[in-house]
Symmetry: C2
Subunit: 399 residues, 2 copies
DNA sequence: CCAATTTAATTTGCTTTCCGAATTTAAATG
DNA sequence: CATTTAAATTCGGAAAGCAAATTAAATTGG
């Protein structure tokens, strides 16, 4: 069977198309992929036999057409299980997902603060994955892949982590350590890319092949999807949107440089100015809330802080638009306190700052989501690999 | 023959590899492309029969190995002819190139200043191409393709020019008009992309698949090569590096906005400040020369102008590095007066402004070239299309 | 209720592509 | 001049995938 396969397989193309389509009849598959109906029949028969896809009985909704009715196909959820893991400073968040992308369970465990050795971190992750699986009545060995996202610079092709705030050494092949520890293939990526992945798989980027995701939390991140793939820079560490410069000799950034976008719009940047304008407050959240309130209430100093952050953000975003000319930008984050960055004023400033062409300016949409979106992105990431393996090998193994 | 071809053809893969390799034996082709030796033999035999490639007798230099000697293959120059055309404000520059990429002749004709109708511009181009061909004893009909670069925003896939300083109407399908007028397929592109193309085909980007080219002339342009292809943005009009913003509410740009990089480093930007600092001069070139001289001579105002331009340039470039993480940046231009932007001080500023990772900072190289480089890029661009056609159709037609 | 119609899916026969293994070719070497 | 070595070619076969013909499953009109 694994004989003549070369180049990208029609099997994989069809499997992906079915995955994307949700439910789709053979004839549409043929049309969308350009593969002949005859071949679609043959390949889908294979996929059915391998248990990777299923026929859906009949959609009564789209009734009343003459002729032989279409039979929808969909991914067989039961074929494989994957886990998605997000490592943050103080906790590990996980989701369990089936082959169809349905979330089965989620889980969350605290992670001791500070830096860990690769073995220790792998241990924490493996334990959490086992607990996640157990929650749904499975074992780690039932999984076909585990996607892991963590902050830092990750070289995906090599699987190594150049640097991460969670690790006490540099340049570790954490993917290998994890795979070894769990007995299940682990796939690592930078967490900003995972959000892009999540948006592509089940967010606002669904079905789009080119868009940009900007994340707002403690820092400012960016994920770039080009041609349906995550763009990682030529060496796997690009898309440092937060550290693009918006002001010569500007405000001091956490990274030690001056004028980074992050130094104007991140939480800590607002805080330090808020302290100056309004005096200190008890907690971070309180102070930010107080700042925004004061700005809306007409306090000149507060308004000026917020306005400048907004304009700097628009400027940074305009640079991205001028360079990439995307048709869609997704502003994604879980923090409500950054609402002001999505304001009409900021969007107007953005439109004013991009090169004017006949084409419409890019669509900018806001997507607020919870903590688990990261983990879901990680799971979607693992799912891509498992799909690819499943398509290539006929049948990998199953739950 | 044109029956079952689907997906990317091995014929094209091999033709490209031979083109890139310059001269390469079959066994290396097999190894580099992953195509089996048997198939390489079959396909190269086809290509030889079609006259697209040639065997090179024998390299005595690499002598003294046992066994049957390798036979190098190369592109057959005589198989096809292409022309490369660059439209600038006041002239048309052309080169005639054979299938191998060897430049046979060049030509240059004045172009009446101002905006032209599509038909009129096509007429000027067609005449110039005919003259170019005649110079080498050919006719336009001997050409297999003509690549044309012009300033403006060009939608390559549609062949339309959204806007160009050379045209008096918007959204014209100039490629179609030209193809019709000449009887030879015309391929249009933005001129910044052509420089990238030229660098890739026979410049410092040769053999590289990912790099960025920044051009300096009247304005500041950028060409992006990702995965061996020109990246054009999702709608064909990205890479407006000159209009990325480096200063909020900054200097006024030609485009009407404020704070564009171009408004700090372009010729006109330097001029207007030089006039203030040193008083007016007779010509543009004189004034720029005087400015740089004064700066080097210790004139404070002049030095400040030049230094700021340099720092702004470094900042803009750093943003590109932080977003793309390229391994190579080529600063390309024909103007000597921009030397100061390549200075050690600017490069140091750049290194200081990019996110620090373990990987080495990107290589930055300077490539100065003459006026015809644009046209050569256009020819290389056409060559890609002709190669593709030739690979697909067996033999297209020849000189 | 049964033909006729319509559309989806499948089957059949065939073409094309490309590989592995065996063979041939063209040199250097002893 | 036989032997060795490495490149190139030939040969038979296997797989992928297409077009055309056929079958299947529904609706519609008489």
């Amino acid at each position: 069977m694994a004989f003549g396969h070369q180049r990208e397989d029609s099997r994989l193309i069809l499997l992906r198309e079915i995955s994307q389509g949700g439910r789709i009849p053979r004839i549409d598959l043929a049309e969308r992929t350009g593969i002949s109906r005859a071949t679609v029949t043959t390949i889908t028969a294979d996929l059915l036999r391998d248990g990777l896809i299923e026929e859906i009985p009949r959609e009564d909704s789209a009734a009343a057409t003459r002729g032989r009715p279409r039979v929808d196909l969909k991914i067989a959820g039961a074929a494989h299980l994957v886990a998605g893991v997000k490592i943050s400073g103080t906790r590990i968040s996980l989701v369990l997902m089936d082959f169809e992308g349905t979330q089965l369970t989620d889980h969350e465990v605290p992670l001791p603060a500070g830096r860990h050795s690769p073995a220790a971190l792998a241990g924490h992750i493996a334990d959490a994955v086992a607990a996640l699986a157990a929650k749904a009545g499975y074992a780690t060995s039932d999984l076909s892949g585990v996607g892991v996202g963590l902050a830092g610079t990750v070289d995906v092709s090599a699987g190594t982590v150049h640097w991460s705030p969670s690790l006490n050494v540099r340049n570790v092949d954490l993917a290998a350590v994890l795979t070894d520890r769990m007995g299940v293939p682990a796939y690592l990526d930078n967490d900003a890319n995972l959000v892009a992945m999540a948006e592509k798989a089940f967010g606002l980027g669904r079905g789009r092949s080119d868009f940009i995701v900007v994340t707002l939390e403690a820092g400012v991140g960016m994920g770039i999807i080009l041609g349906g793939e995550i763009y990682r820079g030529t060496r796997g560490c690009g898309a440092e949107f937060g550290h693009t410069k918006v002001q010569l000799e500007g405000a001091l950034c956490r990274c030690g440089q001056r004028g980074c976008l992050e130094a104007y719009v991140a939480e800590y940047a607002l805080l330090r100015e808020a302290d100056t304008a309004l005096g200190p407050d008890t907690t971070v959240a309180n102070q930010i809330a107080r700042l925004l309130e004061a700005a809306e209430g007409g306090d000149a100093a507060a308004a000026s802080i917020v306005a400048r952050a907004g304009r700097m953000f628009a400027m940074g975003l305009a640079n991205i638009v001028n360079i990439f000319d995307p048709e869609l930008i997704i502003l994604a984050g879980e923090q409500m306190q950054f609402d002001y960055l999505y304001s009409d004023a900021v969007m107007a400033e953005l439109r004013k700052s991009i090169v004017q062409v006949d084409a419409a300016p890019p669509e900018v949409v806001v997507h607020k989501w919870g903590n688990l979106m990261w983990a879901r992105g990680a799971a979607a990431y693992a799912l891509e690999f498992v799909q690819e393996r499943a398509a290539r090998e006929g049948r990998v193994d199953a739950g």
